[in-house]
């Protein structure tokens, strides 16, 4: 079994690792122990600003700091960062294209016991509609660290999506990350599974299970939801003829929608989406919820077989 670490944990470690850059300022809205920005708070206390429980104010304050040359990380749970503070993100950060990185943790249903009010399954869809917003949804600790580094090096607004649940570390030190690039993890000819975030290990497992049944599945990891890697999607459509997307998000507005938009415009092929099916979550243990809502290996395998039958 691979090592496990929550992507939020890797986010917090990366902030400390790259925090020597004196332009970096980290804001948090009274959740630093949960978002894991508390490590930065200890290491660089003068550049850690607690905003109190006021996410809208946090986003506009971040914008003001960014106009003065700061690289600002504004952290909260995805529900409040993307949801509650949407309009501040849109008008204060997105519209003037300011250098603010939104570190959104506790995304998705794997938040678990806190229940539906805190399980943000809409954030990718919301953030995707803001012109110029980059959206990164890393799958493991290695990719999270690289995503934070890439966000620091990129000049402009970035939404970084992290999870609460410890997930397997699937990439090694040779893994490379580039904003806007999908990564082909394994090749296949019958179907392509395009997965993001927590569902990437499931996609890899699903490909192995399909192989045992004589089905050759390509696996593509899509850590950048926007700008989406059109080329890797088009190639998958042309070369495998069927697509399954897998994400811990509503099937409306997220990776599935982004991929569908490319397919419809460039190369329509049969496609099915693994994700929550336009419903709210509930309290429960994370892995029980993931299974209950069909965010698992079994569902990816089923959808892969179903989509092949539509070819």
């Amino acid at each position: 079994m691979a090592e496990k670490m929550a992507t939020r944990e890797a986010y917090g470690k990366a902030l400390v690792e790259f925090g020597a850059n004196e332009n970096i300022v980290v804001l948090d809205a009274d959740l630093s122990k949960s978002t894991k920005t508390d490590g930065f708070k200890v290491t660089y206390p003068e550049r850690f600003i607690n905003m109190g429980i006021a996410e809208g104010n946090m986003m506009s304050t971040a914008a003001g700091l960014a106009t003065c040359g700061k690289i600002v990380f504004a952290s909260s749970f995805a529900m409040f960062a993307a949801g509650r503070a949407f309009e501040q993100v849109r008008n204060s950060i997105g519209y003037p294209h300011l250098n603010v990185k939104i570190g959104a943790t506790h995304a998705g249903i794997s938040v678990g016991e806190d229940g539906a009010s805190h399980q943000c399954l809409e954030d990718i869809g919301i953030m995707r509609t803001i012109p110029g917003m980059v959206i990164l949804n890393p799958a493991d600790a290695v990719e999270s660290r690289l995503a934070v580094k890439a966000a620091i090096d990129y000049n402009g607004p970035v939404y970084l999506r992290f999870g609460r649940l410890a997930v397997p570390t699937i990439f090694d030190e040779n893994y490379t990350f580039e904003i806007g690039k999908g990564v082909k993890l394994s090749d296949g000819k019958d179907v392509t599974i395009i997965a993001t975030g927590l569902l990437v290990p499931n996609a890899i497992e699903a490909a192995a299970a399909l192989a045992e049944q004589g089905i050759s599945a390509r696996v593509v990891n899509m850590p950048t939801i926007k700008p989406i890697d059109r080329d890797i999607i088009i190639a998958a459509a042309k070369e495998t003829g069927a697509i399954v997307t897998a994400e811990e998000h509503n099937v409306i507005g997220g990776l599935g929608s982004a991929v569908a938009e490319v397919l419809v415009e460039e190369c329509p092929v049969p496609m099915l989406r693994v994700g929550t099916q336009d419903v709210f979550g509930r309290s429960g243990k994370p892995y029980e919820l993931l299974e209950l809502y069909g965010l698992d290996t079994k569902t990816i395998v089923e959808k892969a077989k179903a989509v092949i039958s539509k070819k």
């Binding site: 300022v25 003068e46 550049r47 600003i49 905003m51 109190g52 006021a54 809208g56 104010n57 986003m59 506009s60 304050t61 971040a62 914008a63 003001g64 700091l65 960014a66 106009t67 003065c68 040359g69 700061k70 600002v72 309009e87 501040q88 008008n91 204060s92 519209y95 003037p96 294209h97």
Partner: protein, 282 residues
């Protein structure tokens, strides 16, 4: 302040008012009432107070200004033109598709605009961010913002008020343009935010109440704010909405309505007569 300086500022402010009206008239849309009420504060800040350079609008150590009540962009554009950031002949492009002067301030498009605003409540937060950046960098530039009285009904204003006091942003001076009117009428009837002085005091701000159209009082308050350590300052500026144009004064109907040709001609005639009366050039 000597009388010559006051007269010069009055002339500057009248020009800002004329340009605000020129823009709104040309656009046949916009917000004249609140633009006229803040013209004197803008004249003082841009012509007298702020360390800014029209030739170098992004100068690192410049004082910052955020128009939190972004709908009064016509007055801000007037002030920027009066100070030389933008050509006066561009004012008539306000709100036109082929102009860079949008209905609300756009920092990417207009030299001298430090923050894009328009959605109420957000500008003061951004101003806080700028003031905090100055503290972090040990820089001595100051940050100015103007809030509307109606704007204070937005919850974010109070989140920002808490923040500025908590982090002791004494390099921040916020004016609150207290003209008493918002789109739907008298602010105390729509959603009473008063007493604003006591509220800001309770939020641990230094509060100074002034007549928004008296340059001596504006100067005195700004200087007191600069001398105040450990607290942000709110200058509660009691103003007349539509100030300077007889038929617009104290009339909520001019919040977001453009004058027609006849009304515009009368407004300009009144402002020109005022400028001439104190010896200025039209």
């Amino acid at each position: 302040m000597n009388s010559e300086k006051i007269d010069q500022l009055r002339i500057n402010a009248a020009h800002i008012r004329k340009m605000a009206l020129e823009g709104v008239h040309s656009a046949a849309a916009g917000h004249p009432g609140g633009s006229l009420s803040i013209a004197d504060i803008l004249a003082y800040l841009y012509m007298c107070e702020m360390n800014v350079d029209p030739k170098n609008p992004k100068m690192e150590n410049r004082d910052r200004f955020v128009l939190s009540k972004g709908h009064c962009a016509p007055a801000l554009y007037g002030a920027l033109a009066e100070r030389g950031f933008i050509p006066k002949e561009d004012i008539k492009g306000l709100r036109h598709t082929d102009s860079y002067l949008q209905g609300h301030p756009d920092m990417k498009g207009v030299p001298g605009v430090d923050m894009s605003t328009g959605s109420l409540g957000q500008g003061i937060s951004a101003a806080n961010g700028m003031a905090l950046a100055a503290k972090l960098d040990n820089k001595d530039y100051r940050v100015y913002t103007i809030l509307g009285d109606g704007e204070s009904e937005e919850g974010q204003v109070w989140e920002a008020a808490m923040f500025a006091a908590h982090y002791k942003l004494d390099n921040l001076t916020a004016f609150l343009d207290f003209n008493g009117l918002q789109i739907d009428g008298d602010i105390t009837k729509v959603m009473n935010p008063t007493p604003l002085d006591k509220k800001f005091e309770a939020f641990n701000w230094n509060v100074i109440t002034i007549d928004a159209h008296d340059f001596n009082q504006i100067e005195d308050a700004v200087n007191k704010a600069k001398a105040t350590k450990g607290k942000p300052t709110l200058i509660l500026a009691k103003s007349t909405k539509g100030k300077g144009v007889s038929f617009m004064e104290n009339n909520a109907g001019w919040h977001g309505k453009a004058p027609n040709d006849e009304e515009y001609a009368q407004a300009i005639a009144e402002l020109d007569a005022y400028i001439e009366s104190i010896g200025g050039a039209k």
